[in-house]
C-alpha cells in the first residue's frame, strides 16, 4: 500500500519558478486592467489590491509560521494613524511617512506579541483578538489625545509624486500596484530563504524545530514584526486614498476578513491570497446586494469550503498534495 500512495503522489517535486514571460504578462495585464473601467470599479480594484497586500502580510504570520493572528487589522490601523498624524501635525508629505508607518506598526507588533509568543494555537488566537480590540478602543477613546476619538482623522493631504497630486482613483491604483509587486517579490524571496524555512519548521513542528537549534521565539517574533509592519504600509496607502481614517479600521470584522482572505484562497499560497481577496472584496462590491449580506456570505463560503475544498481554492501545491495524499490513503481499500 505504501507503493500505491507513492505512485499517487509522484509529482512531489516543488513547483519551478514561473517563467519570466508569465510574470511580465501578469504585470502588463494589471497595468491595463483599470483603463477601460470607470472610477467606481477602479476603486474596487484598488481595494482588492490593498487587501491582497494585507492578506500577504498576514500570510507570513498565519501561512508560513502557522500562528493564529485574529487582530491583524490593529496594525493596519496603526500604520494609517501614523501616516495621518505625521502628515497632519508635522506636515510631512504622505509618501515620506510610509517608512515610518512600517516601522511604527512593526514596533507595535513587537511589543504586543512579545509577551504572548509562548501561547499556542487557539490561546494565541484569543489573545490577538483581545489586543486588536484594545487598539481600537484606545483609538476610540482618544487615549493619547491626538487620534481624534471616534471621528478619527480627516483632511490628510493626498500623496504627491514629482509634483503630481494623486487624486484620481487610477493613480492610487498604480501606487498600490507598485507596492503589491514589491510585496510579492519580497515574499517570494522570503519563502526561499533561511528565515522562510525556519517559519515552516515552526509551523510543522515547534518542538522538533527547537530541537534542531532554531530559536523558535525569535523566529515567531520576526514573523509578527514583519507581517505587522507590512500591514502598516497598507494602512498608510489607505490613508492616502481616503484622506479620512477612523478607529473602525481596527475592528474585529476587518481582522476576520483578512483571516478569511488567507484561508479562503489556501493558507500559505500567494495566488491563494489573490483568490481570497477577490472572493472577500471584489465580489461583494460588484454584486451590491451581496454586500449587505456579506457576513452571511462569508459564513456560507467558509462552511462550503471546509467541506468541499479544505485546502483552499488555490492552495500551495504542497498543502494540496498533502490533503489529497491523505484521501488516497483513506479511500484505498486495505
Amino acid at each position: 500500500m505504501t507503493a500505491m500512495t507513492n505512485m499517487n503522489t509522484t509529482p512531489t517535486r516543488l513547483r519551478k519558478i514561473n517563467p519570466l514571460w508569465w510574470q511580465i504578462g501578469l504585470v502588463v495585464v494589471s497595468i491595463l486592467l483599470p483603463l477601460p473601467l470607470g472610477d467606481y470599479y477602479r476603486t474596487v480594484l484598488w481595494r482588492t489590491g490593498l487587501y491582497t497586500i494585507l492578506g500577504l502580510s498576514l500570510n507570513i504570520i498565519l501561512g508560513y509560521a502557522g500562528l493564529f493572528q485574529l487582530g491583524h487589522a490593529a496594525f493596519y490601523a496603526i500604520g494609517a494613524y501614523t501616516a495621518g498624524l505625521l502628515n497632519l501635525h508635522f506636515g510631512i508629505p504622505l509618501l515620506l511617512t510610509f517608512p515610518v508607518a512600517v516601522i511604527v506598526s512593526a514596533f507595535f507588533g513587537f511589543i504586543i506579541t512579545r509577551p504572548i509568543l509562548h501561547l499556542r494555537g487557539d490561546y494565541l488566537c484569543i489573545v490577538t483578538i483581545a489586543f486588536g480590540e484594545v487598539v481600537r478602543l484606545m483609538l476610540v477613546n482618544n487615549l493619547f489625545g491626538i487620534t481624534g476619538g471616534a471621528n478619527g482623522l480627516s483632511r490628510i493631504a493626498r500623496p504627491v509624486l514629482f509634483g503630481l497630486v494623486l487624486r484620481q482613483p487610477i493613480y492610487h491604483y498604480y501606487l498600490m500596484l507598485l507596492f503589491l509587486i514589491i510585496t510579492i517579490f519580497a515574499i517570494r524571496r522570503l519563502e526561499n530563504s533561511r528565515l522562510g524555512r525556519a517559519w515552516m519548521y515552526v509551523r510543522e513542528d515547534q518542538v522538533a524545530a527547537e530541537a534542531m537549534g532554531i530559536d523558535t521565539t525569535h523566529v515567531k517574533l520576526l514573523a509578527f514584526v514583519i507581517g505587522s509592519g507590512w500591514a502598516g504600509l497598507a494602512g498608510a496607502l489607505y490613508a492616502g486614498q481616503l484622506t479620512v481614517i477612523a478607529p473602525d479600521m481596527a475592528k474585529f470584522l476587518e481582522s476576520v476578513i483578512m483571516f478569511c482572505i488567507v484561508v479562503l484562497g489556501g493558507t500559505g499560497s500567494i495566488p491563494g491570497v489573490f483568490v481570497g481577496a477577490f472572493g472577500m472584496i471584489t465580489l461583494p462590491e460588484i454584486f451590491r446586494p451581496l454586500k449587505d449580506w456579506r457576513d452571511a456570505w462569508l459564513g456560507f463560503a467558509m462552511v462550503a469550503m471546509m467541506i468541499l475544498r479544505p485546502e483552499g481554492l488555490w492552495p500551495s501545491r504542497r498543502i494540496q498534495m498533502e490533503i489529497h495524499a491523505e484521501e488516497a490513503v483513506a479511500t484505498t481499500p486495505e
Binding site: L14, R194, L195, V207, A211, M212, D215
Partner: protein, 294 residues
C-alpha cells in the same frame, strides 16, 4: 577517558510520580552508550531533561564541563545571585557565568552540540527530505531578513553551503534518492533515518537517539546498527535508548539499565546481561507481555 556528558542525581517528578529517581552516569567521549529499561522506566524523560525540553526537579546535567540542565532558579534564588542582577550587561565574562546559572532552552543546547531524535518520529511532514535536513545547518548560519530580500553574495554562499551540507547528510544516511520526497510520504524506516540525518546535520558532539530501532524489521534494524557504528566512527558520541536488549547488546560498549526511574545496573554487555536485577526487571516485563497475550 573524558566524560562528555555527566548526569548527576538527576530526578524528575510529575506530580506524585517520580519518573526519574537520583540517576547518575557518564557518557564518555567517543563511545556508544546504551540506556535500556522496560517501558515507562524513565528513559525518554532523561533525554528530555538532557535536551532542555523538561527542567529537572533535582540534579544536574553537565556537558563539556558546563552545566546545561538543573532545576530552575526560584525567584528568591535569583535575587540572591549576583550574576542575575548583572546578566543584562553585554560583558562576556558575566554572560558566561550567567549561562551556567540560567535554564537553557532546547535550541541553545543543540547549539552547544547535542542533537536528538524522538521516540515517535517528529519530522517536518509537509517539507521535502532535503528541506528537513536543511534545518540542521540553521544554527551555524546567519542570513536574516536582509539576506533573504537582497541576496548578497554572502547569503548566496550560505544557501549553497546549507544545501550541500543537507545533501551530504542525506547521502550518509542512504537517502540521496529521496531528496525531493515529502517526509510524510517516505516509508517508515526511511523516516527514522531521515530524522537521524537531520540531527547529524546540526554537527553535534553527542547524538541522543530515542529508540531508533522501534518499528523496524530485522533487516532494517541491522542496517541501522551499522549506520550508528559509522556515526560513532565519524567522531560523534552516541547515547542510545533501546527497549529491546538484543539490539543494544549488538552495538553498545557500555550499558546503563533503568527500572522504575532508578539506575539498577551499569557496565559492559556481560556484566549487565548476568546482573540478577536486570534479569528480574526484564523477566517481569516478559511475564507482563505474556499475560497480555492470554
Amino acid at each position: 577517558m573524558m566524560a562528555l556528558l555527566k548526569i548527576q542525581n538527576l530526578t524528575k517528578q510529575f506530580g506524585g510520580l517520580t519518573a526519574v529517581d537520583q540517576v547518575n552516569f557518564d557518557v564518555h567521549q567517543g563511545e556508544i552508550l546504551g540506556l535500556i529499561g522496560p517501558n515507562g522506566a524513565g528513559k525518554t524523560t532523561i533525554f528530555n531533561m538532557i535536551t532542555g525540553i523538561y527542567p529537572p526537579t533535582f540534579g544536574e546535567v553537565y556537558f563539556k564541563d558546563h552545566r546545561i540542565a538543573h532545576s530552575p532558579l526560584t525567584w528568591r534564588q535569583r535575587l540572591s545571585t549576583p550574576v542575575w542582577w548583572l546578566s543584562w550587561l553585554p560583558i562576556s565574562a558575566i554572560r558566561q557565568q550567567w549561562n551556567d546559572v540560567r535554564t537553557l532552552r532546547p535550541h541553545e543546547i543543540t547549539k552547544r552540540g547535542i542533537a536528538r531524535t524522538f521516540q515517535t518520529i517528529r519530522l517536518f511532514n509537509n517539507l521535502t527530505a532535503l528541506e528537513n535536513v536543511m534545518a540542521g545547518p540553521h544554527h551555524r548560519t546567519q542570513a536574516g531578513l536582509w539576506g533573504a530580500l537582497f541576496r548578497p553574495p554572502t547569503q548566496q554562499k550560505e544557501e549553497a553551503y546549507i544545501v550541500a551540507e543537507a545533501k551530504r547528510y542525506l547521502k550518509f544516511m542512504g537517502l540521496a534518492d529521496y531528496r525531493d520526497e515529502l517526509a510524510k510520504n517516505l516509508p517508515y524506516g526511511h523516516q527514522r533515518r531521515l530524522e537521524i540525518a537531520r540531527a547529524l546535520a546540526t554537527e553535534p558532539a553527542l547524538i541522543v537517539l530515542d529508540e531508533p530501532g522501534a518499528g523496524l524489521n530485522e533487516q532494517e534494524s541491522i542496517e541501522l546498527m551499522a549506520l550508528i557504528h559509522e556515526i560513532r566512527n565519524s567522531g560523534v558520541t552516541v547515547l542510545l535508548i533501546e527497549h529491546d536488549m538484543k539490539v543494544v547488546m549488538g552495538i553498545c560498549e557500555r550499558i546503563v539499565v533503568l527500572d522504575y526511574g532508578k539506575k539498577i545496573a551499569e557496565g559492559n554487555r556481560d556484566e549487565v546481561q548476568h546482573n540478577p536485577r536486570v534479569i528480574e526487571a526484564y523477566l517481569g516485563e516478559a511475564e507482563e507481555e505474556e499475560s497480555e497475550e492470554v
